[in-house]
Amino acid sequence: MTRYVVKRLLLAVPTLLGITIVTFAVVRLAPGDPAAMQLDGTPGGDSARLHEQLRAYWRLDQPLHRQYAGWLARLVTFDFGHSFVDHRPVWDKIAEKLPWTVGLAVASLGATLALAIPIGVIMAVRAGGWFDRITGVGLYAAFSVPNYVAAGALIAAVAVIPIDWLPISGAISDDYDGLSVGGRIADVVRHALLIGICYSYPALAYQARFVRNNMLETLRQDYVRTARANGLSRCRVIFRHAFRNTWVPLITLLGLTIPSVVSGSVILEVMFNWPGIGRLFYASIAQRDYPTVMALSVVSAVLVLLSTLAADIACARADPRIHDAQ
């Protein structure tokens, strides 16, 4: 197992390099000049000398491959550089946004799973029954409404009929610092409610259907019949035998979902003014803040690689046949 993990991590290095090269190229090939953008509106900003100085300061006057090499050399020492926009260290900017995105995503994932698993299991056990049919139609409908459409509708509704305790923008109230610990938690939860619902419901719809379909498959298996023939309780047959065998596909699905924990939902964070990574990404691209964009790509690429590796390890733990194959 250790050998397998080491091998996977070593294989991840060229993958990461490839991702950074592509991102670097795409970002630089996009039209727009960060130096001109920064100088726009500043006194004397139309001076060609100032413009050249700024480009030289950011090393934008060097050939692309040297810029990339320099960036890579700093990356190895975990130096992501400074933002073009406010000149703060890029890592600080990411670190202050990350908890908001990760917190929202983890809470959403927990809530989704807590609902999707029982719903999917009950649907499968009573397949064809009224619960299965009604919920199935409901989930399908939910899945087909994009979450930004639902977000727009919710924001519009709350704007028309304001609800005091239900804010539609930001993550904390203005008086947040003066609140007690409980009050702070309640404040964040209130702010997170609408964006959380919009963030979660497509995943809930997808996961519940996923659990249902996998359960239908495992409930048909011979070992479930054996368990029943041996007089095991219904609960044991359903969870220990049928559901236990859906873990591998479920873990694989979650492994593919986790990267969005970091990138967040750009569109929802912008719509709800949520101070997370998604909004930072959006703003950085708009302002041609190359160091921030590159850092965010690296962070999310690393997380994608780590989460797929974690999912593979978890699958091996969940199914001894996969473990032995590795």
Binding site: D222, Y223, A229, N230, L232, H241
Partner: protein, 370 residues
């Protein structure tokens, strides 16, 4: 202890059907038999004749769209309590029967155990489902059971997963699991079909030894008449959802009365070392949605064809229900238009029943037996 002449299980007029998009499949269509304590009853027939559906019906493991439409499945108790009808029992009480009073072993060992749990853990789980013992005790009993069914190094083996075991070993484990509750009846649904010949013999030996030790009755389902000769006390031959012949094993092999049984025996190549060549049965099992009228076997039946060729079979007089007399045409349907279905079982000798309008006994039909 119960006297051996009293039955352990009575299946009476069992009907199991499956609703499909194209119609209702009557997988089990009026099957009756009894199994006595300590005895083995073999249920024989080609694939798709309803053997497994019968076994699953007894365990009440028929799932929708299948259902047990009619009949009784009376399980007698070892003491003098009245029998219970498994067909009408609640799911809760059924769980106390499954694995405890009736155990079951399935056909394909490679898929019969949960692939993600250790073998020993699954046996221990079954033990704990029926006895109030702690984990350690159940594990200890598991090791003992595995040792008893001939698993070498059971301590180490029990911690392994099913994919690390061979088919023969898993079948032993499944048998251990099925007899863990010391059942009165063991249902073995083609337990050796998926195994190679040497392993097959070992598994059969194991079943016979466990039967001697525990005195349990066995319902043995197979398509292999060779195994029947080794294992069974009594035999029921099934065809297209019905029992067509019922006799003790000796009678069945020496005086088979139903043309289907005779054909099965003729298909058994080299049986009792006779020089006769194996004769395959012409045609195939009828489609369950399109069963032939009258006797379901007649399109493949040598006797029916020969009698028709002789011109002797245009009409025949057959006693039914003691008094009514019905005139038949060529094993198909009565001349008077009333459809009486196929032939029902009638005795041709003591303890020997056959469902054929024409058969007298094996000798009278005069089909060369191997």
């Amino acid at each position: 202890m119960m006297p051996p002449d009293r039955p352990m299980l009575d299946v009476v007029d069992l009907h199991t059907r499956f609703r499909t998009g194209d119609g209702v499949v009557r997988a089990v269509d009026g099957v009756s038999f009894s199994i006595h304590r300590g005895q083995t009853l073999a249920l024989v027939g080609e694939s798709g004749c309803g053997k497994s559906a019968t076994a699953l019906s007894i365990m009440r493991l028929i799932d929708p769209p299948g259902e047990i439409a009619d009949g009784q499945i009376r399980l007698h108790s070892v003491d003098d309590n009245p029998p219970v009808d498994l067909r009408t029992l609640s799911e809760r009480r059924l769980r106390e029967i499954r694995g405890r009073r009736v155990g079951m072993v399935f056909q394909d060992p490679m898929t019969a155990l949960n692939p993600v749990l250790p073998v020993g853990g699954q046996i221990a789980e079954s033990i704990r489902a029926h006895r109030p013992v702690d984990r350690r005790r159940a594990w200890h009993d598991t090791i003992e059971l595995l040792d008893d069914v001939g698993i070498a190094a059971p301590d180490r083996r029990a911690r392994q997963y099913p994919h690390e075991w061979s088919g023969g070993m898993i079948q032993r484990a499944l048998i251990a699991m099925a007899v863990a509750g010391r059942p009165d009846l063991l249902i073995a649904d083609e337990p050796t079909t998926a195994l190679d010949v040497t392993t097959q013999a070992q598994i059969l030996e194991l079943l016979q030894r466990l039967q001697r030790e525990f005195g349990m009755a066995i319902l043995f389902i197979t398509h292999d008449l060779g195994i029947v000769a080794d294992m069974a006390d009594d035999v029921c031959v099934m065809y297209a959802g019905r029992i067509v012949e019922r006799a003790d094993v000796r009678t069945l092999f020496t005086q088979p009365a139903h043309p289907y049984t005779q054909a099965l025996l003729a298909a058994l190549a080299g049986f009792d070392r006779s020089p006769t060549r194996a004769e395959p049965i012409p045609g195939g099992v009828p489609h369950p949605l399109h069963l032939p009228d009258g006797c379901r076997f007649h399109p493949r039946c040598v006797l029916s064809r020969r009698l028709a060729a002789d011109g002797r079979r245009e009409t025949a007089v057959v006693p039914r229900d003691r008094e009514s007399v019905i005139v038949l045409r060529n094993c198909i349907r009565p001349v008077d238009g009333r459809d009486i279905g196929g032939p029902s079982l009638r005795p041709v000798a003591a303890g020997h029943d056959v469902a054929c309008w024409e058969a007298n006994d094996g000798a009278a039909i005069g089909i060369a037996r191997p």
